[in-house]
Symmetry: D3
């Protein structure tokens, strides 16, 4: 096996990132995030109720749902609403998005309300779950901003930014931010969720073909750290607008 050479950009580079805040102006918070050809609409909806297990506890909640437009993939996939259920993959991803955002929110400060995040992929080219997290944070921030400016929340419940990216070994070479062809052909890949201050929130690594060593894992984490630092800057710029 000869080593894979990525020609489109350096091995440690992100794809072109574009974040459009307030993409759907009627939602409480929203952003369109584009990572290369991957495009995800992220929205945040404020709900002044909490799930039953939190009632009366003076605590808020953040939860997420994820979906893909049927034509978002190269070969049209079945609409989950028509199939009558969400796939295991969908549920796994939306649980991940929810956990990642909850990790940076102080639920006491949010107060007894929940924020519902929706991440809907309109075009998929690898990395939809990490793009969803990165974009969802922007939508969440905007919705929280609305709560703060409305006076419904007194103190900012968001502790710091959170973003996510993938890294993987393709043809023996560690690469940052895999697109779909790279992801399909990779030996192993890692999705990493991290805060602006560099703390790990979530790491999911899978050997697709070849198992990988602890050393290789360390290299992938370092790549991801670099990428997340850049993503956090993109988020901050988008939120300034």
């Amino acid at each position: 096996m000869t080593a894979y050479i990525r020609t489109s950009r350096p091995a440690d580079s992100l794809r072109d990132i574009r974040i459009t805040p307030n993409f759907l102006p009627r939602a409480d918070g929203s952003a369109l995030i584009e990572c290369g050809n991957t495009k995800v609409i992220c929205t945040a909806s404020i709900d002044e109720n909490v799930p039953p297990f939190l009632r009366g506890k003076a605590q808020g909640w953040v939860t997420a749902e994820y979906g893909m437009l049927p034509a978002s993939t190269a070969s049209r996939m079945r609409r989950e609403a028509a199939a009558g259920k969400q796939s295991g993959r969908t549920q796994e991803i939306q649980r991940l998005i929810g956990r990642s955002l909850r990790a940076v929110v102080d639920m006491g400060k949010l107060g007894e309300r929940q924020i519902l995040i929706d991440c809907d992929v309109i075009q998929a080219d690898g990395g939809t779950r990490t793009a969803s997290i990165t974009g969802a944070f922007v939508a969440l921030q905007l919705a929280v901003g609305k709560l703060l400016s409305d006076g419904r929340v007194a103190e900012n419940p968001i502790r710091e930014a959170v973003a996510a990216v993938s890294a993987g070994i393709v043809g023996g070479v560690p690469l940052l931010d895999l697109d779909y062809p790279e992801d399909s052909g990779c030996d192993s890949d890692v999705n990493i969720v991290m805060t602006a201050s560099g703390k790990l929130i979530e790491i999911q690594g899978t050997a697709e073909g070849e198992s990988f060593s602890v050393d290789e894992l360390t290299k992938l984490i370092a790549l991801a750290q670099k990428g997340i630092a850049e993503l956090v800057q993109h988020q901050a710029q988008a939120l300034k607008r």
Copy 2:
């Protein structure tokens, strides 16, 4: 009851229309249609198989699915994939879209393949079903154009354009192209699907509060005819790009 006065535009005017063809360039055909604040992503996916009831009959098929992003409405609605089923309203709308498009396609010329239309509402402000039909026709035309340029289809199976619009009586006044507040407050409304040459494909009229006379129906049909003539021009311009 005093008569309703629409101040934003004349009673016989459409909302601002914008059709962006090839909005999702990886789909076989796609368009983003914006009718005022209503925004729908329409895609057309070519499938070289037909449903079982058409196998071996040298006939094609066109079918449609419809969905709404949860945050597309003023108050977030439940995700149908999470609810585990499509509502009656969703099924009714997607059946309507499918019938409307099939009415202008020569299935023999299309050949033994089907085109799957997806209409996903990303922002809803009334008239999502009619916007879906109007936008879906553009996506369908683009996908058929691909089949023609690929040589998979020899002769254009599309007989003529089709578009749709609503008209309704609000506060006693007949109005073209209702937005959501008008639709919610109307006495009765009609959704009309018509071809470029002015033939009716589908008419659905409902008295929400007040029943309506045959005369009133005639006025609403005339308004819709005017609107559809304009929509067909918007489609043609979008397809020229």
Copy 3:
């Protein structure tokens, strides 16, 4: 194409109608309606609760469900309870029945209770949705009569009768009240729901093969008006018994 000649009855005639009120004497209201070979059992059940969205509003509700016995059709259809869901067609029809009946009921006078209509087709030969509406009105009237004689309702909440019929163009000829073979072979057909006083409640027209002109629509509406006037008389006679 040569014009279709209906030999069984004139083009503007209804099929033989028979309405048997109180067909299921234990229900609050019931009727068996037979339109030619189409037979539908319609029942009305009084429920002293309203759906959640109406609680405490001093308003009643009327809603409907529709079903077909598996052997009601020429070729046995699948039982929806066994399939685990109601088809899109079923949901579309039951929504139509509910809307049609609600249009003639004063919900304030009905008071905070609902009437649940069930229309179960035991034999199907075209026009099951329109027969359901016509028969359901009789069942509804009987149930309301019970509420009035019980003193639970003080004033009749039913404003006027409602009935429904189809009309269509078959082989170029406008015909009233299509049976199944006519419906299958028709160019376009319209289902019309109208009150005893001739006001439109609902119109649903579909071009099955050929699109149709506004002129043709006008002719079909006129045919339907004639048919509904006769149906309203059948209802009145049945209710006298």
Copy 4:
């Protein structure tokens, strides 16, 4: 507890039985059976396919489905198609009906086809499962008669008639053919399915409140035997028409 005295008819009498063969003339076989106020429409549909597990085995199959109209019970029950599933009770009953009929059919003589039985209760007053079996046999016989007269089946696959009835101990008294109030108040009851020649096909006995002795069971079986002998005569008379 004082002994219950049934005043409407003797303890060992059936309710009034009426069987209307060919109630739905378009079905391959059909009957309306009325046992007192319990009324069930039974149909038999011939399907020239067998379930996968029987393909190529030169064997036929008989299977059954059961349903109740929502308004068939004193207090309207939920429509199973709307609920999205058949209850455990429904499934138990339809499995019982299928087994009971299969027990009298020679599947080799029936040939590689199946007969689908539908039993739909339109009014329920106790004993719907036993009425279904008794009526379904008539529908089955009529469908088999059609197969014989068509020449699709050479030799009658039905070995003998089958019918069913309940018996129970109410207030200490053994009674034949319980109606709903008796069934609700009974100590224990037995549903028995038997052939014309008096062989047992199925027995299901349940102590609702009081457990029962083997002696009591013997008495209930004797009552049922008497009832089934009469039901078989009713079936034969209905089939002569």
Copy 5:
């Protein structure tokens, strides 16, 4: 047909029975029951709530659920949780288990709480429903013992023991406690649920191939009575430990 000779044990013998009480020590009550190669884990969970229809009635409830590990059968069966529903057979069995246990419990003495029984078959070789009832009684007794020793229940609500066994006619010979090959090949079989004092709770007899006479039924009941007397002793011994 020559008579079947059971060589492994006498015709009127049970298979080897082993009941391990407190098999899952964290459950409120539990037992592993092994009847030959049939093995079922039975647990009883105390829930201090009752179903809605019993609230405020000072009455308890006992209900049961049943399942099979996919690999419990010779050929792996589909997991019902993955299939998305419980089969008709599963529902029929769990309803039977619930009714059988409720028949020996004084619901007033149990108080407003319910006991949820779970019977999970880990290896299946015939008689899983009867083994479930026999084992579930032990789990129920242990859970009730816990309620008594906790002082939550003042007086023992269990009136007497209940157990279940099958008997059937195989090759013309009446046999007690059929294993899977015997059950598959039998002419007819009966499942009998009886109390320690010999009162019938439930009898379910089915002619699989040959119908059976009332005399044969009497013989099967006598066999079952003998078996149940032995099973009740096994239960008592297990509960002494």
Copy 6:
């Protein structure tokens, strides 16, 4: 927060492990694995068919399903078969088990057949997913041994053993193999799947409360490596029996 002191065993120790191979002797492969109070029945069933996407490709497949007995948890959980669907957590776990086992199997050597793994938790005290993987490997190995001894497979398709364990930071202290109370109270934990030769197959790390640093992750991986080396020895010993 004061540091947590684990008193039951050293911080870098596994719980008591017991693996009972051939626990269900009728399955193709099976094992009961007990890790402290966590107990999982693992079975492997050979199916001589492959899923559709692999037909004709001379490749095998390994897939897994996971479930929990309702009473396996401290507070009884709802049966998924009764709920009508598998939770997101269940699907996530069974996908993980399947991926982990596939990573050590040469699908070409396995040939065109699949092995279906079932992991059913009968008692849960933390670490059910990792125990499932460790136990499932033993069941898989036994089923493969059967294929080899039957001559259906010529060469051992299993490349090396695979096992899994958790490690987490509780009260600031890194601990191996968390039980349920530790897992509930932990700051962050990692599930690691590794081969006998120390290669990573899967790593899933989640910050439950506190986010964690890359250094802490490194410590947890080291702990897991130690634990997995021991688990692989337990597997080997069990397989010798």
